[in-house]
Amino acid sequence: MSNILELEHISKKFDDDLVLDDLCLEVKENTFMTLLGPSGCGKTTTLRIIGGFTTPDEGRVLFEGRDITNLPPNKRHLNTVFQKYALFPHMSVGENIAFGLKISGKSDQYIRDKIRYALKLVNMDGYENRDVNMLSGGQQQRIAIARAIVNEPKVLLLDEPIGALDLKLRQDMQYELIRLKNELGITFIYVTHDQEEALTMSDTVVVMNQGYIQQMGSPESIYNEPENAFVATFIGDSNIMGGVMLRDKLVRILGVDFPCVDTGFGTNKPVDVVIRPEDVVLAEPGKGRMDGVVSHLIFKGVHYEMEVQAGGFEWLVQSTSMFPVGQEVSLNVDPFNIQIMNKPESEDEEAVVIDV
């Protein structure tokens, strides 16, 4: 697969505030890529640079290998679904969808067919003549998507398109967006601050923070092998603690040696360690690597969530078996489930972790 879109060394300042710093990104054809990060990290700015609404101070945007950095939005072969839908209030549903097609001079018959096709695709058959102002948020969002896709863009940009919908509708829309992406066979670049949404929908997740890409990869690799403490805390729950990599495949955590699978960190190297709460195995006292006491217990439906005081650390543990508060337990972790990360080099990055 070739790259449909490339961002090369993009930097952007807003009044001396560096929002994007030397950002590089390659988007493969026909992928569902999600830009994920906390509010204000520069996701929308990145999307607007791709869409042509914001010009980067430095760097280039390449579309199918062609430099489009200075091309205005109306000349780019991509379409945007805006956060607040941005439907034209003076036009009916059909007129909204036809907007781009009329501008590109398509025939009336073609436009009619396209409107019908797009409405069917977003499950809104028969809404052509409705007033857009009378639609619910979810319906408006569907029309906004229909209005964008009738133009057959090669890349569809979506900025938190379902953020304003209620939970149930949001979950339905997640599946619909995946279906849409597969039916259309085009590239989606999706912006969200919701990690669950990102993990559910994407082929590739790009985790951003403070204008930097923290990690990029499949949802599984982002979740299972976070490269730094920011990614580990931002994606899902996790136990993050300092440790020392004694040698290859052996790490000392809270004074106890744990076998692991990581190599190449050197000997006696301070590192950060991430262990997901569902990967902590509880056993009877003395049977694991580290003994502790259950200090908190919550029933979460599928599993129990417990806090265990062990080695001077409060471990977050998720398990389908329940251990009551006050119970003495022993902790164990499978070597595969211990994720070793380099300690951040600058204080700046450290501060990021504390923020979260």
């Binding site: 869409g51 939005p73 109306n74 907007f99 964008a148």
Partner: protein
């Protein structure tokens, strides 16, 4: 709820004394002769050459004034829409500053400026460009009208313009629209309510004015407003004055009805 209604009493009293009663009086006089018996003569008098010409000229000059105001005000609205919100208020303040000066003063100022040996012509003469003889012509009247009424066009247009969501403009660009298409397909239709109220607020006072035409027309150019004013004052014929006023009102209502046809939503109409 019931008690709140009383709060509107002063307004209703004002409307009654200031609008309804005079209107009834005008209706009464318009359809009666000097002896007090019913007649249509005051109405049909509009067909007299002098009256018809004055009405035609008033409509024409008001139309020109409205078009000029629109051409001047719309780009201002477009520019203000883009500006950072902090500066916007100040620019609007500057633009409507003339409104803070007395209307008569402003008009007399133009008379002084445009006079044969007024400020403008002396300056032009000094520069060797020649004279601009527009005082006491319809052109001077239109100039005065535009100057006096322009803020009434700018304000409503500005008000709708700043409310147009920038996302809509970006969405239009995103869907392939050029600058021209964004203007005709999005900005114009969405600002139509402001345009309609602007036109109404400029056209109505312009078509009825008699002060501007008197001051800048040198008392030789008669608009329908001047005729009516003279019937009421100089000639003391309030019956004819009322009849012609009624005709003028009908013309204004027709203009507004035509105008409102353009405004599908009816949001901008003030009638």
């Amino acid at each position: 709820m019931f008690k709140r209604k009383w709060l509107t009493a002063p307004y209703l009293a004002f409307i009654l004394c200031g609008t309804v009663i005079p209107l009834i009086a005008i209706l009464y006089y318009g359809f009666t002769d000097q002896e007090g018996s019913f007649t249509l003569e005051n109405i049909t008098a509009i067909a007299d050459e002098e009256h018809a010409k004055a009405l035609g000229l008033a409509l024409l000059l008001a139309l020109i004034c409205t078009v000029v105001c629109l051409i001047l005000a719309y780009p201002v609205g477009l520019i203000l829409r883009k500006h950072a919100s902090g500066k916007k208020g100040f620019v609007v303040f500057i633009l409507i500053l003339p409104m803070w000066m007395n209307f008569l003063l402003r008009t007399y100022a133009w008379k002084a400026l445009l006079a044969g040996n007024g400020v403008l012509n002396n300056t032009l003469g000094g520069l060797g460009i020649g004279k601009l003889n527009i005082i006491n012509t319809p052109a001077a009247i239109v100039l005065g009208m535009v100057y006096d009424f322009l803020p009434f066009m700018i304000l409503p247009i500005y008000n709708v313009m700043v409310k147009i969501d920038n996302n809509l403009i970006e969405a239009a660009y995103d869907l392939g629209a050029s600058k021209g298409k964004v203007l005709t397909k999005v900005l114009l239709p969405l600002s139509m309510p402001g345009i309609i109220s602007g036109i109404t607020m400029v056209f109505v006072p312009a078509v009825t004015t008699f002060v501007i035409s008197q001051i800048l027309g040198g008392g030789k150019i008669y608009l329908i407003g001047n005729i009516i004013e003279q019937e009421f004052t100089l000639n003391g014929n309030r019956q004819l004055g009322s009849g012609l006023s009624l005709v003028m009102m009908v013309f204004i209502l027709i203009s507004m009805a035509l105008l409102n046809k353009f405004d599908k939503n009816g949001e901008g109409s003030i009638i």
